[in-house]
Symmetry: none
Subunit: 412 residues, 2 copies
């Protein structure tokens, strides 16, 4: 079944809000085995909405919309859908009673525009709204469906999960299961070249590479009658691509480079301390985002000034004076020093020039040194990063975590 997702609301066209509903619905529909072939957004405009619904129904079997079910004059979704499907809007006594109850309970006065929300297209399958006043619904004509959901995510998501997804179940006799392989230290085109022949020959499972937030990702998707049938198709494909991609793969699905590191450190019974200069707490924050971190992280120091590098980490004045704060020598003393002073087995460190100021011909913006110290043994790496301040900081943070991961891998 082919699905189009339709978002309705002028505030989306103005860029006042990010359209997270569409992402949510897309991911969930993919999970449920539907092919989403297009997203469309139009404003609260009757003609454009009419055209959007009609156009969507030409190619899609099911149109799922969000937005435009509110009580105001702008909210026209229901009216236009009824018109396109040739259905009357009827006052629904059950919905009216529900609405009255909500208003009584809240001690609010019901207005005519609220009563508008109790009108539903005839023959509609109602999707109750447990978190707001606007019910959703599904209507059908000639085997084509429109399912209308409210716009606010806190109403839309539970309505989708509890009412619309069970309704959609009737259309499926197969499931799609995906596994995502996550990589670091390899570019998108290099990754693709390694699996190009597999991609060319793919049918079921399929593999799709993409890049996201500075990482490379490969999605393996299999179709089967059951989840276990689909998973059985994924496993050999995963082994095949892993053989090509090697150590670049750090994890699957929702893992992060940092969670992979934490899991390795836990397994190897090693504690961690972090020293940051240009990344300014970002490395630490990314590690702390993973709940398991409390087992291994002792502390982090953001030693932004030279004094802090010396006082907190024991970096030598001579080192900073001779080589500078952004240098192989300094970053090594930072990683060594933070491990030593905190009593951690492993220390990692970053120092660099994130810009926009502070660069020189010899040490340009984007120059970052990273280091890993494991039980007193220190290795360092020089990075040349591009982009704006926060992009440089992000990539430095990802690089130091990957550097740690590879160092831990090497040591088994």
């Amino acid at each position: 079944m082919v699905v189009e997702i339709l978002s309705i609301g002028t505030e989306i066209l103005l860029g006042d809000i990010v359209n997270t509903n569409t992402q949510y619905l897309s991911r969930r529909l993919a999970d449920l085995g539907f092919s989403v072939f297009r997203h469309t957004t139009v404003g609260d405009n009757p003609e454009r909405l009419r055209e959007a619904i009609s156009t969507a129904l030409e190619s899609a079997d099911i149109v799922i919309s969000s937005g435009g079910l509110g009580p105001t004059k702008d909210d026209l979704s229901k009216e236009i859908a009824a018109e396109v499907f040739g259905l009357k809007l009827l006052l629904h006594e059950g919905q009216l009673a529900t609405l009255k109850e909500i208003f009584n309970r809240g001690g609010w006065t019901m207005t005519d525009s609220n009563i508008k929300q109790a009108y539903i297209p005839e023959d509609a399958y109602i999707l109750e709204n447990d978190f707001g006043t606007a019910p959703g619904f599904a209507v059908e004509k000639n085997g084509k469906y429109i399912i209308m959901l409210p716009g606010p995510p806190r109403e839309m998501i539970p309505m989708f999960e509890n009412k619309a997804a069970p309704f959609l179940n009737r259309f499926q006799d197969s499931v799609l299961v995906s596994r995502v392989l996550r990589m670091a230290g390899i570019g998108e085109s290099a990754m693709e070249e390694k699996v190009a022949d597999i991609m060319d020959a793919q049918t079921n499972p399929t593999i799709a590479p993409y890049a996201k937030d500075g990482e490379c990702i490969l999605r393996i998707t299999a179709k089967g009658k059951t989840v276990s049938e689909a998973e059985a198709l994924i496993t050999p494909m995963e082994e095949r691509v892993r053989a090509r991609l090697g150590d670049n793969v750090y994890g699957i699905d929702n893992e992060t480079i940092e969670s992979a590191c934490v899991n390795m450190l836990v397994r190897m019974k090693l504690t961690l301390a972090i020293a940051e200069s240009c990344t300014g707490g970002l490395v630490s924050s990314r590690f702390v985002s993973f709940p398991g971190v409390s087992k291994i992280l002792l502390e982090s120091a953001v030693t932004y000034s030279n004094e802090a590098k010396m006082n907190r980490l024991g970096v030598k004045w001579e080192t900073i004076n001779r080589w500078g704060a952004v240098s192989e020598e300094t970053v090594k003393e930072m990683a060594f020093g933070v491990a030593k002073s905190s009593g951690a087995d492993v220390g990692i460190a970053t120092t660099g020039i994130a810009g926009p100021d502070g660069g020189s011909p010899e040490k340009p913006v984007g120059l970052v040194w990273i280091a890993v110290c494991v039980k007193g043994e220190v290795v360092a790496k020089r990075l040349t990063l591009t982009g704006e301040r926060d992009a440089i900081r992000l990539r430095a943070a990802m690089n130091v975590a990957d550097f740690l991961r590879r160092e831990l891998l090497r040591r088994g």
Copy 2:
């Protein structure tokens, strides 16, 4: 001029990424005075992309796309656009030279798929990519335009701002100028109530409130023949709404709560040190995101373990033992201790339970204590936050910065 925004990428249809590009472009195009009448997203599929471009050109004067300019076989945007516009793709010597330079500088090997990125439709106006390998471009036919931008936001945004927006300028005889007022410590509906009568009576300038990433924002937009004419309309409106919103407004446009704090600290000649537990470096990272921070930030300590709180910050064992690590007493000693041990004038601190584990009936997940110490005087505040781990951490980080801001305001 009517614009359609077209997003290209199967990963968007699968819900793997949120389509932030479309929001960004929508907001900026509204700023520039263009009417965006539709958003469409299609996958990396030649037929659907061809259809999407052709359909868009029926109603729009300008189609602005993002995505599909990468080096892989999936990336077809350029090829399909050239076909729809009846243009040949030609190897562009200048772009090839630029690409070669990027690869040389990075020490990478250029592949055939990379060379594909140097092909540009004939007669195209090239939009250079200063942050990646895929150039953008604009082409015209019969007075209709397509402007193609790369998908990764860190490439798309600077290309739009520095290359596409100046190109688009030729289509406008009036300008829209916006000023965004940013608030902390006030909810969206409370903000809206304070300015409801102004909103009802608005014409030029208009005001639009919205909430984003836990902040409240009010956008004032004026239309004028020139930028200065529009700005002259904005100023009295800004004064009017500021009088209503008071201290909740921390800044305008691209300011952050942290940059507002940094500017106040610089003005007051005060240095800062940060001690974090549950936020794990996020407070520090948000401060370091603002380049001016180096003038006032001495250091930060992520004291995740109790030992680190005692050793690094001098929190007393008795305090942790009696009141717990998440308590008013501990957070105060953290703020005091980080200021004292680093020699900073101001210390700020966070300690809390970010979850998903570690909560108890007495101290549930979401309980966070924050503190500010200015020249030895400490104040603390208890927060009860909801949401998942990273949401709790983010709101704790924003709250401690706002707490510092209000404390500095109070002291003038």
